[in-house]
Symmetry: C2
Subunit: 159 residues, 2 copies
C-alpha cells in the first residue's frame, strides 16, 4: 500500500507558516519532517530573517532533521509542507532520500500570492538555452579532473 | 553584450572540487560567487562532512556570499561551478537572483561519476504523478490561510 498522509501534520505546517507571517519572520511557508509518526524537525521560511535565499521551510526542515539524526540520508522520512515544494525544495527532498511529500497549497496558489514557484517549474521544462538565467559550459575537459579524482579516491563517502 | 565568463574563476572552482575529494571532505563539486570580478565567496560540497543533504557546493557558496554581503539577494553576482548545477542548485541560483551561471562538467558527466543530476532533470520534465517521489496535495483550502495572512501583513519583507 502506498504511504498515507496524516492531515494533522500538515495542519501543523500550515499553522507554523501563518505564524511565521504574523511574527514578521519570513515568507508564508513551513514544513515538518516525520518518521514513523514522530516529528523529527519542523521549520519555517527564514530567507529574509537569516539573509539566506535557500532558507525555504522545506530546506530548513531537511537540514534540521539531518542534524537531529546525525545523518545525510533521511530515507524513511516524509515531508509535510504548507505549500507544494519549489524545484529547489523538491530536488532537496530527492537528495535527502525522503519517501513521500504531502503539501497543502499549490504552486499556482503561491504564484497568486506573488511567489515564483510556477514560473520556476516552467523554466525547468525549457531547454537550457531558452531559460531566463543564462548558463553556459566551458572547460568541460578540465572539469572532468574532479570526477576522476572522485572515482579513484579511497576516502570517498557515497551519498 | 551578454555577460562573459572569466575561465580563471572556473579553474579555481575545479581545483577546489578536486581538493575536496583529496581531503576526503565531500563530493567532487565546488563553486564561487563573483561580483564585478571579485570573489565574494567560495565553497565545496560538504553533504557528508556536515550531515546536510542540501550542502552542495553551489548552495554553500550562495549561503556564504549572502552572509558575507548581509543580504538575501545576490543580484549582480555570478556563479562559477565545477559542474552543471543540479535542479536544487539551479533553483537556488534563481532565488538568489544571480545574473549568470558558468559551469565546467555537464550533468551527463556527473551521471557517469555516479550522481543523480541527469535523473533529476528528467524527473522535473515529468508530470508530478509520473515522478518517482510520491507527492500529493491535501487541505488545499486550509493552506491558503498562510498566503491570506501574507497578503494582509504590514510586516512582510518581499524577497
Amino acid at each position: 500500500m502506498p504511504p498515507q498522509p496524516n492531515p494533522d501534520f500538515l495542519r501543523r505546517a500550515i499553522a507554523l507558516a501563518t505564524q511565521n507571517v504574523i511574527d514578521g519572520l519570513g515568507g508564508p511557508f513551513a514544513a515538518l519532517i516525520v518518521r514513523d509518526g514522530q516529528v523529527i524537525a519542523e521549520a519555517a521560511n527564514s530567507v529574509t530573517a537569516t539573509c539566506d535565499p535557500t532558507a525555504h521551510g522545506e530546506v530548513n526542515a531537511i537540514r534540521a532533521a539531518a542534524r537531529a539524526l546525525g545523518t545525510f540520508s533521511l530515507a524513511g522520512c516524509e515531508l509535510y509542507t504548507s505549500c507544494e515544494p519549489c524545484p529547489m525544495c523538491l530536488a532537496a527532498a530527492h537528495w535527502a532520500r525522503l519517501s513521500a511529500v504531502w503539501y497543502g497549497a499549490s504552486a499556482a496558489d503561491a504564484a497568486r500570492a506573488g511567489f515564483d514557484d510556477a514560473f520556476l517549474y516552467e523554466e525547468f521544462r525549457r531547454e537550457p538555452a531558452a531559460r531566463s538565467l543564462p548558463a553556459r559550459q566551458l572547460l568541460g575537459d578540465e572539469a572532468w579532473e574532479s570526477f576522476a579524482a572522485w572515482l579513484a579516491s579511497p576516502l570517498k563517502v557515497d551519498y
